[in-house]
Symmetry: C2
Subunit: 323 residues, 2 copies
């Protein structure tokens, strides 16, 4: 690494008196944004829901906090690289080391391709990965039983096992979310509700926390959930400083209700039908369709039409009715 | 790839009637944020500076737009993965393919380690990379002459060659920025100004555009510059829809002045001295120091002390005076 890289890295590692200055400037940033809904930091005194209650996590007395990023083919890039950058950038006064230790984990160390085709070599397998205190699960390929078992086993001793985007489906398949609250990518709400009726789906949440499980909304929401986790370990000032250093303008990490724009249940209409299986928009001119009990149902893909045709009763009782 | 990954990918590839719906919802999001400074979209009628003028780019009549991500050891993760996700997520009505073709480029295809230690295998070398229309340059290791030459040669036919964070130092070293305006990571302003006095440094800019060159601020700023590039090719509605799909709450891509919190020049004081070479904060109890013409100067590292001692006159005339 050279001088330029070091400018960033040294600064982020330099636990000096800058904290006071940065905190002051951060308050200026937040003050400038105070007209925004996003800037309205939640307060336990305001009766917000459980997710915003102070729920601190205790960092280890010594050493760093191991953070495992579970990746496989098709992993959505920002889902894990956003949280990666957040945890990487945390500075804690009095420490010269990184408070979080980051590593990728997969079923094997064969390279995987993330969304868009970036080639990443996982550092560890399930067999040799250090025991994590945090697991980050991005949207990715269908999980193997070995993957689910590793999550189940590792989550027994994690502080937070968190999903981002449709990574919630991977976490849900472990069974750990049953009876709990969760969220996912806004485009997958219908599909998630259909597939996991035993999970209380929160639409319009930036993130949801329930015990040692946490689920973020889509894509960039993972950055906010990671900042929230930083806050739980090291307090709001350190999380604010991390966001400040990242020049991150989003404030959703302080407000789990800030994704309300995505909370409405989409309605299927003749002009804009939704796939009755997954809730995605369908082009009625070209999309596959089926007639069931006199009503026409549209699908975003032949695969979803096949799923519907095999058990149509399962789908016509959901929010998305036939036209 | 499986069903879960496909939920995201199919949605992002599904150029159907959802555009109207999403645009409407996006307006709701923006409306909710309208109290924020960030939400104040720039208007050419308001006399804002050149960067916010409409400056459209023409997509090719056929095929996708090649986007090269120039990476090397130490590349700061979010600097390139943020823009990667933005370009990856763009949907254009009437197209079923991805409008942007993404690939990594490096001096060799040997794996590199990004900030935090993620292992990435570059797809192309300078010798075999497709000619890019967009180049993304994140913070990374000291550029080789071959790297600089590839940027100089490729930039002759790019629509945008963009840096993120201290990637601006790499771009500056090509000489292409001489006489032009640029910005960089807020923690590197002093260092940049010292090293490149021939470049007009804009402090507090989310991004700066000058001809076919563009420079973003630190880290997450690259997401905004990428959205801005999407807007220049395909218009504001497509860029808004991309941000909506990413659940991205930041609005800095519409306002290059939105990093004003970082615009003030830090002042070195006895309590909080700044490194006179790079501008970083120094712990006066432990940091290296030198006395020159009766004044004490502090440094963040022995390397910067050595740089100063070799030519102190070069530094005492900058904004950061000795104490």
């Amino acid at each position: 690494m050279n001088a330029r890289t070091n400018i960033t890295n040294r600064r982020l590692l330099n636990p000096t008196a800058e904290l006071g200055l940065l905190a002051a400037i951060t308050l200026v940033v937040l003050g400038q944004l105070s007209g925004s809904n996003l800037a309205k930091a939640p307060s336990t005194s305001e009766g917000n829901h459980a997710a915003v209650k102070i729920n601190p996590l205790k960092p280890p007395a010594q050493g760093s906090i191991p953070v495992a990023f579970l990746i496989s083919e098709g992993a959505v890039t920002i889902d894990f690289t956003g949280p990666w950058e957040v945890f990487q950038d945390v500075m804690v006064p009095g420490r010269t080391d990184h408070p979080f230790h980051l590593y990728t984990v997969s079923e094997s160390t064969s390279p995987i391709h993330t969304s868009g085709g970036m080639k990443i070599v996982p550092e560890y397998t399930f067999g040799n990965a250090p025991a994590p205190k945090i697991i980050v699960i991005p949207a990715q390929s269908e999980p193997s039983e070995a993957t689910l078992e590793w999550i189940r086993k590792s989550t027994k001793s994690t502080d937070v096992t968190m999903s981002v985007c449709t990574g919630a489906f991977v976490l849900a398949k472990t069974g750990l979310l049953s009876g709990k609250a969760a969220t996912t990518f806004h485009g997958a709400f219908v599909s998630f509700a259909n597939e996991f009726p035993e999970i209380h789906l929160k639409r319009g949440a930036r993130f949801v926390e329930d015990g040692n499980l946490a689920t973020a909304g889509g894509l960039s929401s993972g950055i906010d959930l990671a900042l929230r986790v930083v806050e739980r370990y090291f307090g709001r000032e350190i999380a604010q400083k991390t966001a400040y250093n990242m020049e991150y303008q989003g404030l959703g990490w302080m407000n789990p209700d800030s994704n309300q724009a995505y909370s409405a249940t989409p309605v299927s209409t003749a002009e804009h039908p939704l796939c009755v299986v997954c809730g995605m928009d369908v082009d009625p001119a070209n999309g596959p369709k089926s007639v069931f009990k006199g009503a026409t149902y549209y699908f975003c893909s032949d695969a979803d039409k096949k799923t519907f045709d095999a058990a149509p009763d399962k789908f016509v009782n959901t929010d998305t009715k036939g036209l």
